[in-house]
Symmetry: C2
């Protein structure tokens, strides 16, 4: 079977996204991230290389504390400075034709009325190429930037996200009927007011009258992405996401995650084939295996082990700066039994015996999603991920923008030869490109669809 | 004296901004407003025609009620549908080089932390061409979209706007010192954490920890515009705006407004020459006077008097749908003495005896900012506005995009010949372009500057 994979650029609007330290690599131009030409050049490269989308992650606050202050993160540019991704994808929309533009937007940062309006506008401007990665912000620093004392409880964040999403669905799907905009020049009749509805949302957190201010965009609701890993997060995703982003340690691990998510989706009455499972991977490609390995060694010379440990701290919610990086890992595991599952999976994904100390673990943490080799070897590995149920790859960069230049030069031809990558863009919106045979809009039983005629005769403006 | 004027496109991201009804004109392409090519073409036209900026107004809710419902506004596309202007200027930033991009952002719609981040990002992406028109949303419908029962009091809105602005100033001016970003490859030192500060803002409405997530953009604080007309609004503008937008009925009226604003600015210790006064005007230009008048008659055939009355209702806060449009104006004035000042100024600005009924008033309301004639005649009138103290013009469109095409063809050469319009763009940021001889950033005694060293040693991240 030669089902193709999606390939996405995976970035943040910042100088150091996931591979910290390589901003020092001589080829790195990541410091140009505030120059829009850096991104428009990259967008054109990605379209030439037949990428499906540019996927922008985001954080809305500083990462946390390392040795008692946030200084270490600042010093090493660990996701700070970080510019806004929505302004960026808007700018990229006007210089691209086909590539999807997916942006991470946290329910903490926006009012859903404003967010829905912005999303509809970008969807119009890009002729339906907009996607939204729904997050609730896991960093306490993000919460403190918008009025909270710290992180809200997991339950509270998901309830909040669900209400935010429901407001969006009401505005995108329910407020304007198809055919509302008439533009009858003779009668002087632009929009039929009987087809434009207030939503009169009243929930625990929001009160939104409506109507939506933007007429229906090509996709109405943007293509929805999510990355929840908790039980609740997986349910949230299985119920309503169209693309689920995973960072599994191996194809085997991915297979269990995918199976679980598909089962949950079926439980919500959804067709599990209408779901993408997108794995984050960092490819190091060379014309020969030796060349690839040499490139990897060169990259690793710039890797910052302490930065990797600090990143792990933010991600697992544990301050590794209080731990001796050279101490044996067994000590860490003994003191923190709660972490054992995560850490054990990490150890298992490393070459046997290579992870003995906390520093080894941090080093491996930064490398766990690497695939190193010739285009053929990497494509072989990607087939394993595909056969495990993964349907797309978010390409993590090692050196910017070299990683993507190398990909387009070496990987695109090999992947296309194997039918693993598209040779041309399908027509239509991002949703139609990602799900061949579908229309531009969500279909039942997606919960958004329920709002479509909800406001039909109830509350005329 | 041949001091030049600024000329700005003045639009909303919608099919009918100020001249309602002309979307039916055969030349109108305003229905293409959701097609980004419509705007990128227009942006390139404006740069070719040496416009200083594209100024986007906005409303964040439906206009109000006419004959008991909002239907009339929807039917006539009176500022609804209306897409988001921030996504639009972001998209225009990547296809332009010199023109300023000014967007209206309401303190109701955004959290100041998110807004400040977005503004800094656009300022980076445009190399310092971003401006912000600060508004508090005067429409109750806008307030009802973001959780309020209706419009807040005037005092409350200005207090809110001031705190919002102060959070912005702290993030833009105080959080990152110049020279914070070092990018020392040898030492692996990207940013000096001793030069990046939390702001720890705690006010009546907001609590924002910081630091700002975006490194200092070319202008830091975007160029600030405001349009307050009340006593409080004028003080707010005189204290901190750099461009003030006026809709005066005549050069004489403008002169009194400008004098008042300059006096207030001096009261705040500011140089009144570092303030622009930008008047809204709609130009109808023809090669001959006859041609111009014929074009005006043609435009007026499409004018929608009821729409003008409805717009006036929203603007003056009075439901004119309850009034007989053919009734004599004297009746209206007798019943609503509070309106007399506004309405009398409007009547005075019309040809003597031409405004007898409410319908006449509405018709004249839509035409009060018109200047009709040959390029020479219009330039003569613009000189009068300039001599009254006006330093720039926001060009209201009559038919989109014909108004701007006509301007570039007929007005740009004549205005340049007289030294009334720039012949080339000055180098640097929007601030430097608008205020020759100034630097890219705000200077004392602007209140934003006070935050510059406020956080220097207090709260290291």
């Amino acid at each position: 079977m030669s089902r193709r994979l999606l390939f996405n650029l995976f970035q943040m609007n910042c100088p150091s996204h996931m591979t910290h330290g390589t901003w020092r690599h001589p080829a790195s131009r990541s410091y140009q991230y505030n120059d829009i030409a850096y991104w428009t050049d990259l967008a054109k490269l990605c379209e030439r290389g037949m990428f499906d989308a540019m996927f922008f992650a985001d954080v809305a606050g500083s990462y946390g504390s390392w040795k008692g202050s946030e200084g270490f993160y600042v010093e090493n540019a660990i996701q700070i400075p970080i510019s806004d991704p929505v302004a960026l994808v808007s700018a990229l929309g006007s210089v691209t034709e086909n590539i999807g533009l997916v942006v991470t937007g946290s329910v903490l940062q926006y009012h859903p009325f404003t967010w829905a309006r912005m999303a509809s506008t970008i969807d119009h401007h890009t002729r339906g190429r907009f996607g939204w990665n729904i997050v609730t912000s896991f960093l306490p620093g993000a919460a403190r930037n918008v009025g909270h004392e710290g992180l809200l409880s997991h339950d509270e964040r998901y309830a909040w996200a669900q209400e935010f999403l429901d407001v969006g669905f009401k505005l995108w799907e329910g407020s304007w009927e198809d055919g509302a905009v008439v533009r009858d020049v003779e009668r002087g009749f632009y929009t039929d007011p009987n087809k434009v509805h207030k939503i009169n949302h009243e929930g625990a957190r929001y009160k939104v009258s409506g109507p939506h201010l933007v007429e229906p965009s090509p996709q109405r609701t943007p293509v929805l992405f999510q990355a929840g890993t908790s039980d609740q997060g997986r349910d949230f995703a299985a119920r309503q996401a169209e693309g689920i982003f995973t960072m599994s340690q191996s194809p085997e691990h991915a297979a269990t995650v995918v199976a679980d998510l598909k089962k949950r989706a079926v439980g919500y009455g959804r067709d599990p084939e209408r779901l993408h499972f997108i794995q984050g991977l960092a490819l190091v490609v060379g014309s020969t295996e030796e060349e690839a390995k040499a490139l990897e060694r060169e990259i690793d010379e710039y890797a910052n082990v302490e930065a990797e440990a600090a990143m792990m701290s933010g991600a697992v919610g544990l301050d590794l700066s209080k731990v001796d990086l050279d101490a044996p890992l067994t000590d860490l595991l003994q003191n923190l039994p709660g972490l054992r599952g995560t850490v054990q999976r990490l150890i298992d994904s490393a070459p046997a015996g290579s992870v003995a100390t906390v520093a080894d673990l941090a080093r491996h943490n930064g490398k766990q999603w690497r695939v190193v080799g010739t285009p053929e070897q990497i494509a072989d590995t990607l087939e394993k991920w595909r056969d495990a149920g993964i349907t797309g790859v978010n390409l993590i960069s090692l050196v910017m923008p070299k990683t993507y230049e190398d990909f387009v030069e070496h990987m695109t031809p090999e992947l296309q030869r194997r039918g693993l990558m598209q040779r041309e863009y399908a027509p239509g919106t991002l949703r139609e490109k990602l799900f061949p045979g579908s229309g531009p809009r969500l279909t039942a039983p997606h919960p958004a669809v329920n709002y479509r005629s909800r406001f039909a005769s109830a509350t005329r403006p």
